[in-house]
Symmetry: D2
Subunit: 354 residues, 4 copies
Amino acid sequence: MNSITSAAPGTQRIFTSDNTAGASPEIVQAVIAAASGQDLPYGADRHTAGARARFAEVFGRDVDVLPVSTGSVANALSLAALTPPWGSVLCHRDSHINTDECGAPEFFTGGAKLVHLPGDDAKIDAEQLHAAAHRKVGDVHSVQPSAVSITQATETGALYSLDEIRGLSRVAKDAGLRVHMDGARFANAVAALGCTPAEMTWQAGIDVLSFGATKNGTMTADAVVVFDRALTQELSFRAKRAGQLTSKMRFQSAQLDAYLTDGLWLRNAAHANTMAARLGHGLKALHGADLLHAVEANILFCRLPQPVVDQLLAEGFAFYHDRWEPGVCRFVTSFSTTEHDVDTFLDAVRRLTT
Amino acid sequence: MNSITSAAPGTQRIFTSDNTAGASPEIVQAVIAAASGQDLPYGADRHTAGARARFAEVFGRDVDVLPVSTGSVANALSLAALTPPWGSVLCHRDSHINTDECGAPEFFTGGAKLVHLPGDDAKIDAEQLHAAAHRKVGDVHSVQPSAVSITQATETGALYSLDEIRGLSRVAKDAGLRVHMDGARFANAVAALGCTPAEMTWQAGIDVLSFGATKNGTMTADAVVVFDRALTQELSFRAKRAGQLTSKMRFQSAQLDAYLTDGLWLRNAAHANTMAARLGHGLKALHGADLLHAVEANILFCRLPQPVVDQLLAEGFAFYHDRWEPGVCRFVTSFSTTEHDVDTFLDAVRRLTT
Amino acid sequence: MNSITSAAPGTQRIFTSDNTAGASPEIVQAVIAAASGQDLPYGADRHTAGARARFAEVFGRDVDVLPVSTGSVANALSLAALTPPWGSVLCHRDSHINTDECGAPEFFTGGAKLVHLPGDDAKIDAEQLHAAAHRKVGDVHSVQPSAVSITQATETGALYSLDEIRGLSRVAKDAGLRVHMDGARFANAVAALGCTPAEMTWQAGIDVLSFGATKNGTMTADAVVVFDRALTQELSFRAKRAGQLTSKMRFQSAQLDAYLTDGLWLRNAAHANTMAARLGHGLKALHGADLLHAVEANILFCRLPQPVVDQLLAEGFAFYHDRWEPGVCRFVTSFSTTEHDVDTFLDAVRRLTT
Amino acid sequence: MNSITSAAPGTQRIFTSDNTAGASPEIVQAVIAAASGQDLPYGADRHTAGARARFAEVFGRDVDVLPVSTGSVANALSLAALTPPWGSVLCHRDSHINTDECGAPEFFTGGAKLVHLPGDDAKIDAEQLHAAAHRKVGDVHSVQPSAVSITQATETGALYSLDEIRGLSRVAKDAGLRVHMDGARFANAVAALGCTPAEMTWQAGIDVLSFGATKNGTMTADAVVVFDRALTQELSFRAKRAGQLTSKMRFQSAQLDAYLTDGLWLRNAAHANTMAARLGHGLKALHGADLLHAVEANILFCRLPQPVVDQLLAEGFAFYHDRWEPGVCRFVTSFSTTEHDVDTFLDAVRRLTT
């Protein structure tokens, strides 16, 4: 099913996704510390209390937090609380919820419909959103626009500006829709925009956030962050019912706590972004490589001659290359990518293109 | 919501459940080892391959394994693969799926019905099962008996003998039903019965097993073990759709691998069982304590005078005591319970009852 | 699947249920009248407007009405609007929703749980309701009591008094639950109690009513009657989504309109009740027949010697007889049962028992 | 909600849809005949047996038939039997199931996904189908192509040729997909193509058919016709669970029986088609009217000057005109449309455009 060659020891050669990295040492330490002694189950433990306080600090206000096991759960749970079964979720055509979750949102919502919108760089166009948000409202023959979901950073590594987020939220709110943010790469976006988490979320109209951490340093800990706290009770029952209320929640909370402590999350993300920028800079300088857009976060797209692609794969580098037009490749960096990893790869491309 | 007093450092005073323990050192080591280096996502990693091999070894045959984040997910996923939406799951009235999962089985199955049966010690009575399995079969006005779910060890710590499991399976199979085992305390049962995992599962007619590990030493890793492998593809799609396909599956698999290596799982369980036996033995010797049944695994029920209960709670011991008849208390031991913990508690009871 | 012998022409010999009757002549006339000419679809037609006005008249206030194709739909739709997926519906163990709808409530609610209560004559006991309504409230591990459903007349033909309905509603409302009435035999109950529809429903705390008409004279037209009109919008979307918004709604509305015009519905029901009373009176006088309770509506239970049962069946009479203790038989009369039908049957029993 | 002016008595002026017609006299007679006497419930009656035999005759083989209350139910039920919750249904972007059923297919399937395809005249393009049917097959991150649904006649009144249906079925079957036909206007298509029902369905690869009758002469009776009879048991349970198993099924069956008797269904459809052709012919001859495509069944699209549209509406004619490009109007004829109706309308257009 998966033919990616394993990385040679010592060098990270996999650029398929940031989910191929391990965990940050700080996260590992936190898990070790959480492993001994008794503590209360189902979130009544000390680590969960600590993580909650940390989230409040980071977001500049009280928020409710539900640790979850994957980003797919975070998304599907969030949408279930924002959309009735006869509702629709407006999202980008290429959004993860629409293309990569095997219908998890449909499952959790009880059969709501994802209505997908076009837009460059996997970003929803505000005019398209406006039209869709007002389509067939009140018409009993049609599912009812109920929520919009935006991904920040997007699936192609692009960023919505704060103004763009506010604009989409305004369109949504004016039409009575709630706003969800899929923040699988939330940290990368905050680091890149240089804004506060508050500015990018509740201050910009976000009601519920899928807070991704796994791609950026934790092991298996993501969270739903609830700004519209009227939704929390429903979310709690839905989470339990989805099997997400872990007895030993301390292990998830310890990770999230450490992740948010001393800025680890932003350091990791900034590093990943820097590595992508370095890779982009290096590729740009090469004659045979054609960078397809500016690098904003930790994903970049580049066109390479097919023989070069083939040879890179043969040498053990891994990246997605056969999902788009011929020659278009995607590269993702992570907190664990090193300058050496990037340079080793650039050396290979340089050698093959000259 | 939860008023259990925190344990004093150094002594484990919480006997509410085995879910208040941390993780075994071997599990922690495995997680540390899994944390560095790149590896493939979604189960294509080395640790998952290792865990699969280990499961095959332990069960004496090839099996399919889906790591999941909780026992509730393991149960609900399994039942969804065994029961159509218009089916019913026959289970004990006091089973966890019926009383403690906020309707997770109903959610995952698309609205199947749990039909609950009576029986002592939370064990399903074979005659009751026979009657229920044949009730309204083919009657389009009624949900159709489709699966039976048995919990081993049961919610009260009792054990089905191998003969009893085989007997229930036979009743089920004769009626065309599939058989699920909720093995939240699977290891405790195997250790107590002294049988092989194979004997207690597929050789006794079990089609799918919820393999619990979290209560017995892992952090947050349980699994669905599939013996009727025709179900695996459906289970895989359902798991993804439920948000259970973790990108960094290595962290779950590393735990499961270590758990099954060198008999850790059975050592842990045997220890928990021994501690319960020690506790039972101690209580039996006390005049004021009335042990309610033989101790078979790691749970025991005992009647204590209300003033004794109150004083034990006041001294910081924690256990469930207000869910049954007055004075009836439940005590659960775990892999991390020590003789000192048990004896400290027994000393307190002795002091208060004499 | 169904071995009931067809009735001899001229005499109605089927007492299995009131659903074996045809339709009242007035209903047939209304359908004929509705069949010609164009009219607007989806309830914007003249007949639907007329039926709505009639319902308002009959219930003494404005109500919202959704025509539906069966009583099962009426029940399941109503419950879906009253109960979240993580909720529970408290109902009698023998209620139709629990035993005869193949899980329709679970399907429409997205997997809510029916929690069934005991009680004589298929009537919910108020104390049992109180206990169940307060069980595990706020406990995230448990489905949450959300609605109570009472059947009037009950599945055994018994009646709740107005005081009993008010009492159950009070218990429900005090616990924050909504109240649904399954009125499959609503007319029989109103006729028997001699009260107004208002007294038996919204004045007694009912939020939503399954208004049965099919058993009492219409062809295929039942309705959801909404007293808590905040639920109407949700019900409309759910009804459409369940395929219940008929384009030619005029045909259902014409039936409902005629049914409620000039007291047809109450005349029909009173007649059915009278026929049951006549049957009960006749059986009581017979030595070999043992009437099991007072006849309140149009259903009665009676114990007959097995040879008598066998012979009655052999002679072409049809009734349920093998669902309860040996010899217990159920007889149901309808608007179309005649004195001749009853007397013919009584003659047969008399002949066989003497 | 609906601002269509009622038709003047004597002339049918509503061309919005064929659902504004009443019922054929033969259907009315059948309902009258079914209304008296007792009969068995839930499909064990004489009329249902008769209707089944008629369907077998019409389709040239044994088929299973489930009467349903609407076309939406027919579609959603059918798709639920053809698609697992993690499956996708490939359908045209403008198909009724995608745009006009408020998510009924998503509800009945437990959250499957409708994947919509482009194509002229609301017809699925075979190449697009081929691509979609093979997209991400076996990829656990994606819903799995499971069924294709084609509408015959289409939502715009176009027809698939027999060859086209066979071609799409072949593509579907080769990819392991089942084929559903939404036959809301099935009769119009058969009449227009001059083929047998068998040729257009099971002989062309259709597994399940939504057999529409309501638009073409019945009151409220449509049906699911099952060619792949392995699906029937599942469909029966799903139908009951959806509240579609009517107790007095005789009233639906009597309509369906009469509809199929002596070719009524084809006469009605042929008449509607002829009226559309007459309307098309008339419009074509008018200078100001611009017929947008050939008239194949009973729907036509025509562009008219806006002042003409406004004046026609003012005069009490009703038709859809504001759902497409400015000036584009849709006209639908039915079995009850008369030459006089068409000519009256044409006269008006002629008067206004010259």
